[in-house]
Symmetry: D2
Subunit: 361 residues, 4 copies
């Protein structure tokens, strides 16, 4: 399988380069009867969109999504949904200087080696711009999950550099430009970003994604475990270098007597597992963490080589986020939602005889 | 897609329960002309096998694999390879006491909820016993990668509880029962295991998997990035709760100027990326880390419920590892090898016009 | 995807050569809770089995299938089902004379060219022997379809050479060795076979496969239409050269006013469509026809070349059917059942909100 | 897998309804370095386009395709190719009268039953209008196959009603509006169409598709045989009810001694097999035939029911072809090319060690 599709039953296929004519997406397998308009996607697209705050890149794209098919009289029809976002602010000239350079930390070198040709304008297909379509598709999944099963998929910034949050207040997340759930840390984040801008450098980040009200039973052992597929979908986001489910790497130092979540007639007593046991959702909150690397698009000079193999220095000018992790919040939500949606349909297919939960659509 | 298959072009499908008649596997898509005998798989099977040292479970299975098809006169024919391991040491009686209990931290509850029925003998399909077939299939991938491209896939234990290794000496890895690359830490690991056995408890572990000589160009953006597929395959291993590529979660606190790997005419100057840029292998070593939770099969009593929803206490007697992470070393190697192999075939299919590397088979 | 798997949600993967150690199969995605024993498969295996009548090859294999996993206390558990049939009557010596010959009409030449190596014993993987596992897997699908939805999948021989049946009496089909539904034609078929045996030649055949009580709604436009997937699964049977749905090639000469099936409040008035409209099952009987070529394994000498490219003559001695089409009856049923089963699970996954039909398991 | 994707390595995913805003397609897995412009697709789109002759529907759409991604500086980059055709001539009002009717012979009833909702404007997704995107994608496959391996994929009309062609002169095919290779039959076809128009009726057709210079070795036994996948892709075309490979249904009456194609040092002496042996291409011409039913969109009144289950009469006014088979010629070519392309990439992936043929791109 070529790589631009994710999911088996709820399938999302995308196209589009950073500075091409448009980005597009086909959602295949969406259940019929879901009320859907562009507005349902626009909210998350706006959350991801560059240029919305002083903390993120100043590239200004309206990112207006159009539904081209699969919706009739306001409802999904069960056929494939075509989505399109035209690129309006392309400014290709900004990138001509890197035509023959492999920017360190970027995909320039590997795309060139793999394909023998690369669209160097803004990173082409390797640019995070493609994630706009993930967010649009994720919004469809989020809406269905919410309406049919009451599932809510949300994320927040839990760390940037050495600044960590201390508490999670979901109300706060949309109140600040960092998707920070801890009001007391907003200023520290703000300070860090300003410092980085001045220095022309960037920083990594850690995000947390949570889904609640997830039906028990999602996940297909042994290879397509729910956690394995979540790891796949989250690691497929640009710049992600690590994925944890539940306690993640903390389990290395845990004892079995401490890690396992006790069960009582009232439910689980803790959630070290992050809502997944044996690769199948347990009905508890699904909790995942991801680590995003600092972007390499910085003005601090970097050492590299040209296509011809000569030494070169690179400075990435232009409009770039000092912390690409921030804008990844809606992307992480989208990817988790897409994966849950896919597993929901797969589970319903095989286990219709067993399922007691009925969708509310 | 049901969940017992991994890979697109090099496909591994498995079956088998802990206490069923046999485990089996079909490898589909293996290139023809590879010399293959049972001995090629047996070595890794023995490394994974329980009962080989005092540190691991005392269940004794010869784990003898048989090739049933796909090999003719000592060579693979390109058709599907059938593998079988008969279960000889089943002792089902050990497990009758957990028939109506959901062991905390295990898949008992989720399997029951998903399927309405579960094979409770030793965890059935959710038992790590199924990983024997992954190891067998992985050995085939390892052999091809080695012969055709010189790729080597190896792993080691990098941490158990709070004991971390300080250095990596590949020579040491096979010299001790822990796959520990740091001879100075073997005693500390030994002590920790003995302590846990006495206490009837277990501990988590961290492993590192490395592949070298990997051809540039493996990985299919944007969803089937090499790192995303590695995350999927490693997270699909029982007990894994976290996956890192390269610097992993350390990137959260890194600066862009520090993280990006400088390129020179002689090659990369560092490998923070872990050998993957933009989801495509860069030719550097591929480096991944995984976190494995402490097993819940311990003699420390745990709180749980019965199928009927009543409170119960569970003590898992029987033959269990205090640290399941140790035996996961050959499993992690196998999963990485399977994923690389799959991406190699996918890459060759699309990019035959561009590829310069020729296989040596 | 390598080629030894069929289906997306109900997935069947097989291995095994004509003269290897064993044939095997993994069924992935079978719903849990289905009562299943070897006997459920043995009946159809016996119908397909060589050596059961004087009309088919005299190779005698008991073809005893063993369930190795996925069934617990007599019921499917929802995990992968491993099946095995050991080859007991291998007689490899029969085939040594064709080691360096490409038999005309056989896969010898193409396997050799594709893989550079071939298992020449009895055709290896290209032998129709592999269809035994299709029949076993199909029996599982048939049983589920029957129990859960009352679907019945049956086939019969409708033509051999120029002898065509005139009527369809389902009662007759299992009463004769030809799966012939027209008692008046049995003698003509018998005569034809005896004539061919004497001449050392073979003949083609046409089969008809029918499924009734199929739920409305199976099939996924636009590429995975039910008829397209049926064409795929039936054409994948050895020796099949043509597939028709409903009126098939007769539509070429039909008028639109004649072909379209009128609808009334009591249902459709005819079934030219063969139970599929727009790629989706209509609730009418699904009707398909297939054409099977005459086997090339005959004693009439044939012109061919050796691996070295020299002219040669080939005579296929041994135990071969004059009409391989006869034994394909249970195979065709199996393939249709597997495809319907797969589409049933896919349909249930996406359209659970719409479906009114509930399975009876 | 939802149904709007075809292919594994060369993957085509489409969206779009007859009267929606646009049709679209994503081609994933196209090799890099292929020179590609809209003009490469436009030629085949024009051949398929309605309104080009008096024999086909008078709906006039320019069917202008736009490349939105995956091509840079005139060459494919190996990333996903987005294609778009805007619907300009929608005239939805024509169809309001069938909003609550199930047209006999159409997909109205089955779509309604499957999804609970249907886009009734011109058949929505079930309209043959979606095949425009198949033709566009097929043109890409055709161009690559031609340039890299010299493969040519062509089709012609071999029968309409009871008028059959007697000879095949490829030069003639593009000289008349019927894609008829026999100049002597053009008038008979013309007469038949005029008669049908007068009567308001329609007629079926038979097409023949041929690919030459196909490399030996394409096809993946046992389920994804080349012939099985061709059957799938051709049967997925609207209105197709039968598929034949090589001699097709004629084999039913053939003898083995007659059917098998003798081999000589100079090559095969005949091509009854249609270029495929054991599911793998033999290097001979690949030959397939398809039967297309007469369209049900005719002015002869038909008996049917409403959504409420009441009896009704339907007359399909509007712009419709008396023989939809004619315009299917470029569609059949496209589908065969897509399938060959997919198998080429799959074959190259697994058998790179064996292949001697090198692509010329």
């Amino acid at each position: 399988m070529a790589g631009n599709t994710i999911g088996q039953q709820f399938r999302v296929t995308t196209f589009g380069e950073s500075h091409g004519l448009a980005l597009g997406c086909i959602i295949d397998g969406c259940p019929p009867g879901l009320e859907l308009t562009e507005a349902d996607m626009q909210h998350d697209l706006d959350r991801r969109r560059p240029g919305t705050s002083k903390y993120t890149t100043q590239r200004r794209e309206p990112d207006e999504v159009k539904i081209l098919s699969g919706v009739f009289e306001g409802q999904t029809t069960g056929t494939s949904i075509g989505l399109l976002i035209e690129n309006t602010d392309q400014r290709s000239k900004d990138y001509s200087n890197i035509k023959d350079l492999f920017r360190p930390g970027h995909a320039d070198y590997t795309y060139h080696q793999k394909y023998g040709i690369r669209d160097y304008r803004g990173g082409g297909r390797s640019s995070a711009r493609e994630t706009a379509m993930r967010v649009a598709a994720g919004a469809v999944a989020k809406k269905y999950l919410k309406q049919a099963y009451g599932v809510e998929v949300r994320a927040y910034l839990s760390q940037m550099g050495d600044v960590k949050i201390d508490k999670v207040d979901w109300e706060q997340v949309e109140q600040n430009a960092f998707f920070c759930p801890d009001a007391d840390k907003v200023e520290a984040f703000d300070e860090l970003i300003r410092k980085l801008k001045k220095e022309g450098d960037s920083i990594g980040a850690k995000l947390t994604v949570v889904a609640n009200n997830v039906p028990v039973g999602l996940g297909e052992p042994v290879f397509d475990r729910l956690d394995a597929d979540i790891a796949h979908s989250l690691m497929s986001i640009n710049a992600v270098k690590g994925v944890e489910i539940g306690d993640g790497f903390e389990v290395v130092e845990q004892r079995g007597s401490e890690h396992r979540d006790a069960m009582t007639p009232e439910g689980f007593k803790s959630n070290h597992a992050g809502g997944i046991l044996g690769g199948i959702s347990s009905g508890q909150d699904i909790v995942a963490h991801i680590a995003l690397k600092p972007t390499s698009s910085i003005t601090v000079p970097g050492e590299t080589i040209t296509r011809q193999g000569d030494t070169a220095e690179v400075i990435t000018k232009g409009r770039h986020d000092p912390c690409v992790g921030i804008r990844a919040v809606p992307i992480a939500e989208a990817m988790l939602a897409i994966t849950l949606m896919d597993h929901l349909l797969r589970h319903r297919g095989q286990n219709a005889d067993v399922m007691t939960e009925t969708p509310k659509i």
